[in-house]
Symmetry: C2
Protein backbone atom coordinates (compact mmCIF):
# COMPACT_ATOMS: atom_id res chain seq x y z
CA UNK A 1 0.00 0.00 0.00
CA UNK A 2 0.98 3.64 0.30
CA UNK A 3 1.57 3.16 -3.39
CA UNK A 4 -0.45 3.97 -6.45
CA UNK A 5 -0.49 1.12 -8.94
CA UNK A 6 -0.18 3.61 -11.80
CA UNK A 7 3.28 4.47 -10.51
CA UNK A 8 4.83 1.06 -11.16
CA UNK A 9 7.49 0.92 -13.84
CA UNK A 10 7.05 -1.20 -16.93
CA UNK A 11 9.63 -3.64 -15.60
CA UNK A 12 7.65 -4.03 -12.38
CA UNK A 13 4.48 -4.73 -14.35
CA UNK A 14 6.35 -7.16 -16.56
CA UNK A 15 7.56 -9.11 -13.53
CA UNK A 16 4.08 -9.01 -12.05
CA UNK A 17 2.75 -10.28 -15.35
CA UNK A 18 5.10 -13.25 -15.40
CA UNK A 19 4.08 -14.04 -11.83
CA UNK A 20 0.45 -14.04 -12.97
CA UNK A 21 1.21 -17.18 -14.99
CA UNK A 22 2.73 -19.10 -12.10
CA UNK A 23 4.84 -18.61 -8.98
CA UNK A 24 8.58 -18.45 -9.53
CA UNK A 25 11.92 -17.75 -7.94
CA UNK A 26 13.96 -14.73 -8.99
CA UNK A 27 16.37 -16.90 -10.90
CA UNK A 28 13.56 -18.75 -12.62
CA UNK A 29 11.88 -15.47 -13.44
CA UNK A 30 15.00 -14.14 -15.13
CA UNK A 31 15.11 -17.17 -17.41
CA UNK A 32 11.38 -16.98 -18.13
CA UNK A 33 11.74 -13.30 -18.99
CA UNK A 34 14.53 -14.03 -21.44
CA UNK A 35 12.45 -16.77 -23.06
CA UNK A 36 8.96 -15.35 -23.31
CA UNK A 37 8.91 -11.56 -23.07
CA UNK A 38 12.62 -11.23 -23.79
CA UNK A 39 11.92 -9.90 -27.27
CA UNK A 40 9.78 -7.04 -25.94
CA UNK A 41 11.27 -6.48 -22.51
CA UNK A 42 14.51 -7.87 -21.11
CA UNK A 43 15.43 -6.75 -17.59
CA UNK A 44 18.71 -8.00 -16.14
CA UNK A 45 18.78 -10.61 -13.39
CA UNK A 46 20.00 -8.13 -10.80
CA UNK A 47 17.14 -5.80 -11.65
CA UNK A 48 14.62 -8.57 -11.09
CA UNK A 49 16.14 -9.27 -7.69
CA UNK A 50 15.64 -5.62 -6.82
CA UNK A 51 12.07 -5.48 -8.08
CA UNK A 52 10.75 -8.56 -6.28
CA UNK A 53 11.08 -7.37 -2.64
CA UNK A 54 9.57 -4.06 -3.72
CA UNK A 55 6.48 -5.84 -5.04
CA UNK A 56 6.20 -7.77 -1.78
CA UNK A 57 6.54 -4.54 0.20
CA UNK A 58 3.63 -3.07 -1.72
CA UNK A 59 1.50 -6.12 -1.08
CA UNK A 60 1.38 -7.04 -4.77
CA UNK A 61 3.19 -10.34 -4.29
CA UNK A 62 3.99 -12.82 -1.51
CA UNK A 63 7.22 -14.68 -0.82
CA UNK A 64 7.61 -18.20 0.43
CA UNK A 65 10.93 -19.71 1.45
CA UNK A 66 11.50 -23.12 -0.06
CA UNK A 67 14.22 -25.33 1.42
CA UNK A 68 15.92 -27.60 -1.09
CA UNK A 69 18.30 -30.47 -0.53
CA UNK A 70 20.47 -30.74 -3.63
CA UNK A 71 19.92 -27.13 -4.76
CA UNK A 72 20.31 -23.88 -2.85
CA UNK A 73 17.23 -22.83 -0.93
CA UNK A 74 15.09 -20.39 -2.82
CA UNK A 75 12.48 -17.69 -2.38
CA UNK A 76 9.37 -18.34 -4.42
CA UNK A 77 7.19 -15.38 -5.35
CA UNK A 78 3.47 -15.50 -6.03
CA UNK A 79 1.21 -12.69 -7.21
CA UNK A 80 -1.35 -11.50 -4.63
CA UNK A 81 -4.96 -10.47 -5.09
CA UNK A 82 -4.14 -6.78 -5.19
CA UNK A 83 -1.21 -7.57 -7.46
CA UNK A 84 -3.58 -9.24 -9.90
CA UNK A 85 -5.88 -6.24 -9.64
CA UNK A 86 -3.04 -3.79 -10.24
CA UNK A 87 -1.87 -5.80 -13.25
CA UNK A 88 -5.38 -6.01 -14.68
CA UNK A 89 -6.02 -2.29 -14.35
CA UNK A 90 -2.68 -1.59 -16.05
CA UNK A 91 -3.52 -3.96 -18.89
CA UNK A 92 -6.94 -2.35 -19.25
CA UNK A 93 -5.63 1.20 -19.11
CA UNK A 94 -5.45 2.46 -22.68
CA UNK A 95 -2.71 4.94 -23.53
CA UNK A 96 -3.08 5.98 -27.14
CA UNK A 97 0.56 7.05 -27.32
CA UNK A 98 2.66 5.31 -24.65
CA UNK A 99 6.08 6.75 -23.89
CA UNK A 100 7.55 3.25 -23.84
CA UNK A 101 6.46 2.77 -27.44
CA UNK A 102 5.22 -0.43 -29.06
CA UNK A 103 6.67 -2.66 -26.34
CA UNK A 104 4.07 -1.44 -23.84
CA UNK A 105 1.21 -2.49 -26.13
CA UNK A 106 2.83 -5.86 -26.67
CA UNK A 107 3.27 -6.50 -22.96
CA UNK A 108 -0.29 -5.49 -22.16
CA UNK A 109 -1.64 -7.80 -24.83
CA UNK A 110 0.72 -10.57 -23.73
CA UNK A 111 -0.71 -10.39 -20.23
CA UNK A 112 -4.25 -9.87 -21.50
CA UNK A 113 -5.41 -13.07 -19.83
CA UNK A 114 -5.85 -11.36 -16.48
CA UNK A 115 -8.08 -8.60 -17.82
CA UNK A 116 -11.58 -8.16 -19.13
CA UNK A 117 -11.76 -9.44 -22.76
CA UNK A 118 -13.50 -6.28 -23.90
CA UNK A 119 -10.76 -4.13 -22.43
CA UNK A 120 -8.17 -6.27 -24.19
CA UNK A 121 -10.05 -5.69 -27.41
CA UNK A 122 -9.91 -1.95 -26.78
CA UNK A 123 -6.19 -2.23 -26.12
CA UNK A 124 -5.71 -4.04 -29.43
CA UNK A 125 -7.73 -1.32 -31.14
CA UNK A 126 -5.45 1.31 -29.62
CA UNK A 127 -2.39 -0.58 -30.80
CA UNK A 128 -3.84 -0.85 -34.27
CA UNK A 129 -4.47 2.88 -34.28
CA UNK A 130 -0.94 3.56 -33.12
CA UNK A 131 0.55 1.47 -35.91
CA UNK A 132 -1.84 2.93 -38.47
CA UNK A 133 -0.78 6.47 -37.56
CA UNK A 134 2.84 5.43 -37.77
CA UNK A 135 2.29 3.82 -41.17
CA UNK A 136 0.55 6.98 -42.39
CA UNK A 137 3.53 9.03 -41.24
CA UNK A 138 5.93 6.71 -43.08
CA UNK A 139 3.89 6.84 -46.26
CA UNK A 140 3.68 10.60 -46.00
CA UNK A 141 7.48 10.75 -45.71
CA UNK A 142 7.81 8.42 -48.68
CA UNK A 143 5.68 10.73 -50.82
CA UNK A 144 7.71 13.86 -50.08
CA UNK A 145 11.16 12.30 -50.20
CA UNK A 146 13.69 15.11 -49.76
CA UNK A 147 16.52 14.91 -52.29
CA UNK A 148 19.19 15.14 -49.61
CA UNK A 149 17.77 12.10 -47.86
CA UNK A 150 20.02 9.28 -49.05
CA UNK A 151 19.06 5.86 -50.41
CA UNK A 152 19.66 4.14 -47.10
CA UNK A 153 17.09 6.16 -45.24
CA UNK A 154 14.56 5.39 -47.95
CA UNK A 155 15.31 1.69 -47.55
CA UNK A 156 14.78 1.95 -43.81
CA UNK A 157 11.51 3.74 -44.50
CA UNK A 158 10.47 0.68 -46.50
CA UNK A 159 11.45 -1.43 -43.54
CA UNK A 160 9.12 0.48 -41.27
CA UNK A 161 6.32 0.33 -43.81
CA UNK A 162 6.71 -3.42 -44.28
CA UNK A 163 6.62 -4.08 -40.56
CA UNK A 164 3.67 -1.76 -39.97
CA UNK A 165 1.64 -3.43 -42.70
CA UNK A 166 2.45 -6.89 -41.36
CA UNK A 167 1.42 -5.74 -37.89
CA UNK A 168 -1.92 -4.44 -39.17
CA UNK A 169 -2.63 -7.75 -40.90
CA UNK A 170 -1.74 -9.57 -37.72
CA UNK A 171 -4.06 -7.25 -35.75
CA UNK A 172 -6.95 -8.36 -37.92
CA UNK A 173 -6.16 -11.99 -37.17
CA UNK A 174 -5.75 -11.20 -33.46
CA UNK A 175 -9.10 -9.44 -33.31
CA UNK A 176 -10.83 -12.48 -34.76
CA UNK A 177 -8.97 -14.89 -32.48
CA UNK A 178 -9.95 -12.90 -29.39
CA UNK A 179 -13.56 -12.62 -30.56
CA UNK A 180 -13.71 -16.37 -31.15
CA UNK A 181 -12.41 -16.96 -27.64
CA UNK A 182 -15.04 -14.65 -26.12
CA UNK A 183 -17.75 -16.43 -28.09
CA UNK A 184 -16.56 -19.84 -26.92
CA UNK A 185 -16.51 -18.84 -23.24
CA UNK A 186 -19.06 -16.01 -23.01
CA UNK A 187 -19.20 -15.46 -19.24
CA UNK A 188 -16.69 -17.51 -17.33
CA UNK A 189 -18.40 -16.90 -13.98
CA UNK A 190 -22.04 -17.24 -15.11
Amino acid sequence: MANDAARLTTTEFAVLGLLSFRERSGYDLARAAARSIGYMWAPSRSQIYKVLPRLVGWGLADVREVAQERRPDKAVYRISGSGLQALASWVEEVDENPAGGIGVFMLKLFFGGVADPEAVGAQLEAYRGFVRRRLAAYEEMERNVPDDEPLHSRIMLQHGIARARATLEWAEYARRALAAESAAAPQEDA
Copy 2:
Protein backbone atom coordinates in the same frame (compact mmCIF):
# COMPACT_ATOMS: atom_id res chain seq x y z
CA MET B 1 41.27 11.95 -28.93
CA ALA B 2 42.15 10.06 -25.78
CA ASN B 3 39.00 8.23 -26.71
CA ASP B 4 38.32 4.98 -28.48
CA ALA B 5 35.55 5.27 -31.04
CA ALA B 6 34.24 1.87 -30.00
CA ARG B 7 33.37 3.35 -26.63
CA LEU B 8 30.76 5.80 -27.90
CA THR B 9 27.19 5.12 -26.86
CA THR B 10 24.49 4.40 -29.41
CA THR B 11 23.02 7.82 -28.78
CA GLU B 12 26.35 9.46 -29.55
CA PHE B 13 26.63 7.52 -32.81
CA ALA B 14 23.05 8.40 -33.64
CA VAL B 15 23.77 12.12 -33.20
CA LEU B 16 26.97 11.75 -35.20
CA GLY B 17 24.98 10.01 -37.89
CA LEU B 18 22.46 12.82 -38.16
CA LEU B 19 25.32 15.28 -38.38
CA SER B 20 26.70 13.25 -41.28
CA PHE B 21 23.67 14.33 -43.33
CA ARG B 22 24.10 18.03 -42.68
CA GLU B 23 25.22 20.48 -40.02
CA ARG B 24 22.65 21.35 -37.39
CA SER B 25 22.00 23.11 -34.10
CA GLY B 26 21.11 21.12 -31.00
CA TYR B 27 17.51 22.22 -31.22
CA ASP B 28 17.31 21.36 -34.88
CA LEU B 29 18.94 18.01 -34.20
CA ALA B 30 16.33 17.13 -31.59
CA ARG B 31 13.56 17.72 -34.08
CA ALA B 32 15.37 15.82 -36.82
CA ALA B 33 15.86 12.90 -34.46
CA ALA B 34 12.18 12.81 -33.62
CA ARG B 35 11.30 12.86 -37.30
CA SER B 36 13.75 10.50 -38.96
CA ILE B 37 15.31 8.09 -36.48
CA GLY B 38 12.68 8.71 -33.83
CA TYR B 39 11.11 5.32 -34.44
CA MET B 40 14.37 3.49 -33.76
CA TRP B 41 16.12 5.86 -31.37
CA ALA B 42 14.64 8.85 -29.58
CA PRO B 43 16.98 10.71 -27.20
CA SER B 44 15.60 13.66 -25.26
CA ARG B 45 16.58 17.21 -26.12
CA SER B 46 18.59 17.65 -22.96
CA GLN B 47 20.53 14.51 -23.73
CA ILE B 48 21.44 15.85 -27.16
CA TYR B 49 22.69 19.05 -25.59
CA LYS B 50 24.93 16.98 -23.36
CA VAL B 51 26.25 14.80 -26.15
CA LEU B 52 27.20 17.56 -28.57
CA PRO B 53 30.02 19.23 -26.55
CA ARG B 54 31.35 15.76 -25.79
CA LEU B 55 31.63 15.01 -29.51
CA VAL B 56 33.42 18.32 -30.04
CA GLY B 57 35.79 17.54 -27.14
CA TRP B 58 36.71 14.26 -28.81
CA GLY B 59 37.34 15.98 -32.12
CA LEU B 60 34.48 14.16 -33.81
CA ALA B 61 32.54 17.35 -34.53
CA ASP B 62 33.13 21.11 -34.79
CA VAL B 63 31.00 23.97 -33.51
CA ARG B 64 30.36 27.30 -35.13
CA GLU B 65 28.52 30.15 -33.47
CA VAL B 66 25.87 31.66 -35.68
CA ALA B 67 24.47 35.06 -34.76
CA GLN B 68 20.85 35.58 -35.73
CA GLU B 69 18.78 38.73 -35.72
CA ARG B 70 15.20 37.67 -35.26
CA ARG B 71 16.02 34.33 -33.64
CA PRO B 72 18.30 33.54 -30.70
CA ASP B 73 21.91 32.95 -31.65
CA LYS B 74 22.74 29.33 -32.13
CA ALA B 75 25.62 26.86 -32.13
CA VAL B 76 25.81 24.87 -35.33
CA TYR B 77 27.55 21.49 -35.23
CA ARG B 78 29.27 19.79 -38.13
CA ILE B 79 30.81 16.34 -38.26
CA SER B 80 34.62 16.29 -38.59
CA GLY B 81 36.84 14.00 -40.60
CA SER B 82 37.61 11.75 -37.69
CA GLY B 83 33.95 11.85 -36.74
CA LEU B 84 33.05 10.56 -40.18
CA GLN B 85 35.69 7.88 -39.80
CA ALA B 86 34.43 6.85 -36.37
CA LEU B 87 30.88 6.69 -37.67
CA ALA B 88 31.91 4.66 -40.71
CA SER B 89 33.85 2.12 -38.67
CA TRP B 90 30.89 1.74 -36.31
CA VAL B 91 28.54 1.21 -39.24
CA GLU B 92 30.93 -1.33 -40.73
CA GLU B 93 31.50 -3.18 -37.47
CA VAL B 94 29.31 -6.27 -37.55
CA ASP B 95 27.94 -7.52 -34.24
CA GLU B 96 25.97 -10.69 -34.85
CA ASN B 97 24.02 -10.22 -31.62
CA PRO B 98 24.02 -6.58 -30.49
CA ALA B 99 23.01 -5.85 -26.91
CA GLY B 100 20.90 -2.91 -28.11
CA GLY B 101 18.82 -5.30 -30.22
CA ILE B 102 17.29 -4.63 -33.62
CA GLY B 103 17.54 -0.86 -33.25
CA VAL B 104 21.30 -0.99 -33.62
CA PHE B 105 21.06 -2.79 -36.96
CA MET B 106 18.49 -0.28 -38.14
CA LEU B 107 20.61 2.70 -37.20
CA LYS B 108 23.71 1.26 -38.85
CA LEU B 109 21.80 0.62 -42.06
CA PHE B 110 20.16 4.04 -41.87
CA PHE B 111 23.58 5.68 -41.77
CA GLY B 112 25.01 3.24 -44.30
CA GLY B 113 25.74 6.05 -46.73
CA VAL B 114 28.99 6.94 -44.99
CA ALA B 115 30.39 3.40 -45.18
CA ASP B 116 31.75 1.01 -47.75
CA PRO B 117 28.82 -0.54 -49.71
CA GLU B 118 30.20 -4.04 -49.25
CA ALA B 119 30.34 -3.56 -45.49
CA VAL B 120 26.77 -2.32 -45.52
CA GLY B 121 25.83 -5.47 -47.40
CA ALA B 122 27.52 -7.54 -44.70
CA GLN B 123 25.63 -5.59 -42.06
CA LEU B 124 22.36 -6.33 -43.82
CA GLU B 125 23.33 -10.00 -43.98
CA ALA B 126 23.97 -9.98 -40.24
CA TYR B 127 20.60 -8.37 -39.61
CA ARG B 128 18.92 -10.94 -41.80
CA GLY B 129 20.62 -13.72 -39.85
CA PHE B 130 19.56 -12.15 -36.57
CA VAL B 131 15.92 -12.01 -37.64
CA ARG B 132 16.08 -15.49 -39.13
CA ARG B 133 17.33 -16.91 -35.84
CA ARG B 134 14.61 -15.08 -34.01
CA LEU B 135 11.96 -16.37 -36.39
CA ALA B 136 13.27 -19.91 -35.95
CA ALA B 137 13.01 -19.51 -32.17
CA TYR B 138 9.42 -18.25 -32.49
CA GLU B 139 8.45 -21.12 -34.77
CA GLU B 140 10.09 -23.58 -32.41
CA MET B 141 8.05 -22.13 -29.53
CA GLU B 142 4.92 -22.35 -31.64
CA ARG B 143 5.50 -26.05 -32.28
CA ASN B 144 5.90 -26.96 -28.60
CA VAL B 145 3.17 -24.76 -27.18
CA PRO B 146 2.97 -25.45 -23.44
CA ASP B 147 -0.60 -25.92 -22.24
CA ASP B 148 -0.22 -23.39 -19.46
CA GLU B 149 0.79 -20.70 -21.94
CA PRO B 150 -2.45 -18.79 -22.50
CA LEU B 151 -4.05 -17.70 -25.78
CA HIS B 152 -2.67 -14.18 -25.52
CA SER B 153 0.92 -15.28 -25.53
CA ARG B 154 0.24 -17.41 -28.59
CA ILE B 155 -1.23 -14.38 -30.32
CA MET B 156 1.84 -12.34 -29.47
CA LEU B 157 3.98 -15.16 -30.84
CA GLN B 158 2.09 -14.76 -34.11
CA HIS B 159 2.85 -11.06 -33.93
CA GLY B 160 6.56 -11.75 -33.71
CA ILE B 161 6.40 -14.28 -36.53
CA ALA B 162 4.49 -11.90 -38.80
CA ARG B 163 6.94 -9.08 -38.23
CA ALA B 164 9.98 -11.32 -38.66
CA ARG B 165 8.67 -12.69 -41.96
CA ALA B 166 7.91 -9.18 -43.22
CA THR B 167 11.40 -8.10 -42.25
CA LEU B 168 12.99 -11.00 -44.14
CA GLU B 169 10.99 -10.13 -47.24
CA TRP B 170 12.09 -6.52 -46.89
CA ALA B 171 15.71 -7.65 -46.50
CA GLU B 172 15.53 -9.35 -49.88
CA TYR B 173 14.29 -6.11 -51.44
CA ALA B 174 16.95 -4.12 -49.60
CA ARG B 175 19.72 -6.41 -50.80
CA ARG B 176 18.66 -5.91 -54.41
CA ALA B 177 18.29 -2.15 -53.98
CA LEU B 178 21.79 -1.84 -52.53
CA ALA B 179 23.24 -4.07 -55.25
CA ALA B 180 21.58 -1.96 -57.94
CA GLU B 181 23.08 1.16 -56.40
CA SER B 182 26.57 -0.37 -56.36
CA ALA B 183 26.18 -1.40 -59.99
CA ALA B 184 25.07 2.10 -61.02
CA ALA B 185 28.02 3.81 -59.28
CA PRO B 186 30.74 1.13 -59.24
CA GLN B 187 33.70 3.15 -57.97
CA GLU B 188 32.81 6.68 -56.98
CA ASP B 189 36.42 7.85 -56.85
CA ALA B 190 37.71 6.09 -59.99
